[in-house]
């Protein structure tokens, strides 16, 4: 019996499983097919020489490392070998959505396409499709 006070318990939900990650091109696949690429959206400064050492260190080393919603890069290493981004909750491991980095939604399952250009506000799962 778990005798810890309720608020100290961790839920058994998802325990012993691995992540089920949706590749925008190939659909949902086991985590072991992917490699992790860390925080998404970090842009290499166009002119590194113009930065102070501290600014360069911030780009190179500092990370948001949030507790909660996180946008992160994954590579489908053992599949189509493409990079894409995933929004995952770092506490529950629930994945909200996957999206391509150039904002185009591929034709699910085709491994090819730029079916439709996403606008900034329509950058959602519904447009990306579930793949197959």
């Amino acid at each position: 019996m778990n005798t810890a006070p309720r608020r100290w318990r961790t839920s058994a939900h998802g325990f012993n499983a691995m992540l089920l990650i949706e590749c925008p091109w190939c659909g949902p696949r086991a985590e072991t097919e992917f490699s992790y690429g860390g925080e998404a959206g970090i842009v290499r400064p166009p002119d590194p020489d113009a930065l102070s050492d501290a600014e360069w260190a911030d780009y190179l080393f500092n990370r948001a490392n949030p507790r909660g919603a996180h946008r992160e890069l994954w590579n489908h290493t053992h599949g189509c070998r493409r990079w894409f981004a995933v929004e995952r909750d770092t506490v529950t491991n629930q994945i909200q959505r996957s999206y391509t980095l150039d904002g185009t939604a591929p034709e699910p399952g085709t491994g090819s396409g730029t079916a439709s250009k996403l606008t900034a506000e329509s950058d959602t799962t519904s447009r990306i499709g579930s793949g197959g």
């Binding site: 499983a17 860390g38 260190a57 080393f61 500092n62 490392n65 507790r67 770092t90």
Partner: protein
């Protein structure tokens, strides 16, 4: 505080063990303190203890959101060693090792430090070259280290598969005889009790939700049990370092990952030392209760859920069975995860910050249990004098801007 002693044990036994006292008080948080430690893991409690013992700062609170030792301190696989490659790290870990060697006496609490030796296995010629190099580097720094052959390993650890026909044949190992294991909970409890007896308030179930900064200076914290003022705040929250940093508008070079470990059902004594392999990637020891204590590497993704993915467990088991085929039918009993704070150079940050009076001690990642006393010792000194000790000066936050990283990743075998 009543001292623990053999006589006390007998006396209490005769009194039907009715007279044992609580090991530390559970005071209500005060309005203000000379120093606040955020995080009641081993490192935080050790910091409070050395602040009180060595620096005369006794009006101190340790604020812990859960129960003390409930973080990585109570979740780790307790390997204690100091055979790191680089001089900066080996001296810091060796300081800790020296403190471990007298810790039970210092604290009047049995932390069950058992110097049963740690072997780091080599499976390739390059592994062996790295081992030779590390052993020599250790010796130059006054740290005991030796290289042992596969034949010697076979004698010392009979169940280890040293056959040349193994999938990843073992060619030899480094051995640090003074290394070993300790009882993790006892470390937290021992430091808490000793700090408490010097006047430190150990306050559990008190989560810090904000850090108050005024004019570039730390002035206090917000907690789930009200605001508490102090102009000297040390943050020692391991996997939650980035969360606390954000409260003071700081960014850290840290990512928090799940790190899992597990134990088997208890079996008869079969392994009297610690065996680690960076190549097949797993490590194992046997607890006094008889459980095999097993661990390996972090999950690739970041995570605050104190759980990881199953394939890591599978991979770890494969490694252990590669090393010890004899364990293939031992059943696993419990498994858990911690949240480890990983730095790009696999070395800690024990440092002042751009906020005056705010200090961070984090980034110990997968290997900070061994440094619990040493970390507390240098951090207390840093907080008391607003200046690092020479042992932790290289482990500043600035090293990421100056480029003076201390690259222990890969250099010191498996990172535990």
């Amino acid at each position: 505080m009543k001292r623990y002693s053999a006589l006390g044990l007998v006396r209490n036994a005769l009194g039907y063990n009715r007279d044992w006292r609580e090991a530390w008080r559970s005071p209500e948080p005060g309005k203000s303190y000379d120093a606040i430690i955020v995080g009641g893991g081993g490192h935080g409690l050790a910091t409070a203890y050395y602040l009180a013992r060595d620096h005369g700062i006794r009006n101190v609170a340790v604020l812990e959101k859960g129960w003390i030792g409930g973080g990585n301190t109570g979740r780790n696989t307790t390997i204690v060693r100091s055979n790191y490659l680089w001089t900066e790290s080996s001296l810091l870990y060796e300081k800790s090792m020296k403190l471990w060697e007298g810790l039970s006496q210092d604290l009047n609490y049995n932390v069950m430090f058992s110097q049963r030796g740690v072997y780091n296995l080599g499976h390739s010629l390059q592994d062996m070259r790295d081992i030779e190099r590390r052993v020599n580097a250790n010796r130059l720094n006054g740290i005991d280290a030796e290289v042992v052959s596969a034949a010697e390993l076979g004698k010392a650890i009979p169940h280890l598969n040293t056959s040349p026909d193994a999938r990843y044949p073992i060619l030899g190992a480094s051995l640090q005889r003074r290394a070993g294991v300790a009882r993790h909970d006892a470390v937290a409890w021992g430091f808490a009790r000793a700090a408490d007896s010097l006047g430190v308030d150990v306050i559990e179930q008190c989560e810090v939700t904000g850090i108050d900064v005024r004019g570039g200076k730390a002035v206090g914290v917000q907690t789930t049990r009200g605001p508490i003022a102090s102009d000297r705040i040390g943050v020692v929250v391991a996997g939650h370092a980035s969360v606390l940093a954000k409260m003071a508008d700081l960014r850290l070079p840290i990512e928090s990952h799940p790190l899992q470990a597990f134990v088997s059902e208890p079996i008869k004594p079969v392994l009297d030392t610690v065996v680690m392999s960076g190549a097949v990637h797993g490590y194992i020891s046997q607890s006094d209760k008889g459980e095999l204590v097993i661990g390996a590497g972090i999950d690739a993704y970041t995570g605050y859920g104190q759980r990881g993915s199953f394939h890591i467990i599978e991979h770890t088991m494969q490694a252990i069975i590669e090393l010890f085929p004899v364990f293939s039918r031992v059943r696993m009993l419990r498994l858990w995860g911690g949240i480890v704070d990983v730095c790009p150079d696999a070395c800690p940050i024990v440092s002042k910050t751009p906020v005056e009076g705010l200090y961070f001690n984090c980034g110990w990642g997968t290997g900070g249990f061994k440094s619990t006393p040493g970390s507390g010792w240098v951090f207390a000194r840093t907080m008391a004098h607003d200046e690092p000790h020479e042992l932790n000066a290289p482990f500043s936050l600035e090293r990421f801007a100056t480029g003076a990283l201390i690259d222990e990743h890969g250099a010191a075998a498996v990172a535990h």
